[in-house]
């Protein structure tokens, strides 16, 4: 089974990349594999390279990788309860990150840990710092987790559905904080999400995954303004939009996501696609560039765009 298959992406300093996809599309596995967090075996990871600022992560041994994780690459996981240590207080866990990676000790590290809790919008920051994970609500734990991911001031933050469990008002606060850190510290951000609304507000570039492959990638303006892959188009039109004056029936994509154990031989989206051609069933489409910053893996759509541009030139 290929959970992730031939995925390429890059993110620059101070840039945010969103990886968008539905459950089972491989978006989490792709990001975790980068830094050796997918247990192997059972997983086998083959890739040419995963480069952080000139350093090939796939070539590093476990000890070197673990040094990089947390200091140069920060993480925010989807499920804070399994990522936080149940027997240490939140404050201790955050200050440990600060001591280890920023070489700041004792009281200063503790003070900074509380500061981070304030920055993620926790009013009773001292109280939360003194609490154990099980004493906090889900939303509070998630914010503590975010504070921990940020406390090492990493060059790259990988955040996997970091705000999915949070209420919208808190989510807005967290998104703003992340963008501010991206701008202030020049942090690069990889944001894994299924929420097209949140992604529109924070990403510079977006990669859409379907059944283990990236099917479309481009600037956030390309993706939302000129979505080209039929799957991306379907997804965007099935989001209820609060701004429309008249309510119409929601657009849907027929069928469901394919079983990763039994992918169709050609394009994985073929069974649900409205514009498919005969060859789509037989061959996996390759990524084609349709503008300077915009790529899609859909042969009929890419051909259609090239043909339309040809006519425009005449």
């Amino acid at each position: 089974m290929h959970a992730v298959n031939g995925v390429d992406f890059d993110v620059a300093r101070g840039e945010s990349l969103a990886i968008v996809g539905e459950s089972g599309s491989g978006k989490t596995v792709a990001a975790m594999a980068l830094v050796g967090l997918v247990p192997s075996p059972p997983a086998r990871i083959r890739g040419e390279r995963a480069v952080l600022n000139g350093l090939n992560l796939l070539a590093l041994d476990e000890r070197k990788l673990s040094e990089i994780r947390g200091s140069r690459i920060g993480f925010v996981f989807q499920d804070p309860l399994s990522a936080l240590n149940p027997v240490l207080t939140i404050g201790r866990q955050i200050s440990e990150v600060i001591e280890r990676h920023l070489n700041i000790k004792g009281g200063e590290a503790k003070r900074r840990a509380v500061d981070w809790l304030v920055r993620v919008g926790i009013a009773d920051s001292q109280g939360v710092a003194d609490s154990f994970p099980h004493q906090l609500s889900g939303g509070m734990r998630q914010r503590a987790m975010i504070a921990m991911g940020l406390a090492g001031e990493p060059e790259l933050l990988i955040a996997d559905e970091p705000t999915t469990a949070l209420d919208v008002t808190v989510q807005a606060q967290i998104v703003d904080l992340m963008l501010q850190l991206r701008d202030d510290l020049g942090m690069a951000l990889v944001w894994i999400s299924h929420d097209l609304g949140v992604v529109a507000g924070l990403a510079d570039r977006v990669a859409v995954m379907y059944a283990g492959r990236i099917v479309e990638s481009g600037s956030v303006q390309d993706l939302y303004g000129r979505p080209a892959h039929p799957y991306t188009r379907g997804l965007i039109s099935s989001v209820p939009d609060l701004r429309t004056e008249r309510l119409s029936r929601l657009a849907t994509i027929p069928g469901g996501t394919p079983d990763p154990m039994a992918l169709p031989p050609g394009c994985a989206y073929f069974p649900r696609c409205g514009i498919s051609e005969r060859e789509c069933d037989a061959r996996v489409p390759v990524m084609a560039r349709i503008s300077s910053s915009h790529w899609i893996a859909c042969t009929p759509a890419a051909n259609g765009i090239v043909a339309a541009e040809g006519q425009g030139d005449e």
């Binding site: 539905e22 919208v168 008002t169 606060q173 529109a200 099935s238 701004r243 029936r249 929601l250 469901g256």
Partner: protein
Amino acid sequence: MNRRGTALLEVSDLKVQFAPRGSGLWSDKKGVVRAVDGVSLTLQRGETLGLVGESGCGKSTLGRAILGLVGAASGSVWFDGHEITAMSNREMRRIRPRIQLVFQDAGAALNPRWCARDLVAEPFKIHLSLEGAVLQQRVDAIFETVGLDPALGKRFPRELSGGQRQRVGIARALASEPDLLVCDEPTSALDLSIQAQIVNLLQDLQDQLGLSYLFIAHDLGVVRQISDRVAVMYLGKIVETASRDRIFKEGRHPYTQALLSAVPVADPEHANTRGWKAMTGEVPSPSSPPLGCNFCTRCGSKAEVENRLNIDCDMIEPELISVEELHEVSCHLFPAN
């Protein structure tokens, strides 16, 4: 008992409280948790009332109290002229087929050892005592109603996708021919492309069967899509209720406005210019809510109320009052018309 008006469901001044845990080793002895703290609402036949609010505001508990699944501390729930809150278990069993629940996590609500067909057949057996060919016919019919391929009937819940499981859950809820469905976050565990399918299905079913929905959700986009009226809940109380269009265009309560402005919009052009009102502060614990307005710890309009109207939000609780026809708000900024 048939004394109320035409509303299908009438909830008045309902309170649901949970006692603090006993004096166990790890108990932190706090006061009673007021999960639902004096809620009144009505639901007409064929209507959908959207109930929105953040996690912990009591919206699910309210749904469960309406179904008689948690007991009320005080207040009443009337369903089609019958007072649910005063019913014996035996009476409750008679009314239960008419009020059904659609769960958020259909997977957890379905017996994993039963195939889809048996799961859907069960309520027909229990509520209508059907068997044999008649039963099979009804099961086939309901599979079609909810858009499930009959070939999936032999599959177990784990072999179905999230959307298919939710369709099984809806089919089970519909089997007893209910008047009211309490839908508790029915789409929030689903992928986006499937969520739209389920919202459309619920709308079609309402048109075909004349169902009424109490639609509990935190996703305002989905709520707007499906609701006729919307009630906004905060810390156990309803703070605003109005028609769908009024709430989304002219929601007045500072909490409603904060909630609406925090909803992310799937449009980068809009996102860069949006001006959501950041809320600070935490939601108070439902075991020790503020003396005055429940929202006062996070409200951006508190200073205005205190300076302009000279009312202390911390101490004086606003009432839910009518500001326009069918539009009620509980905030000192909006006195009765």
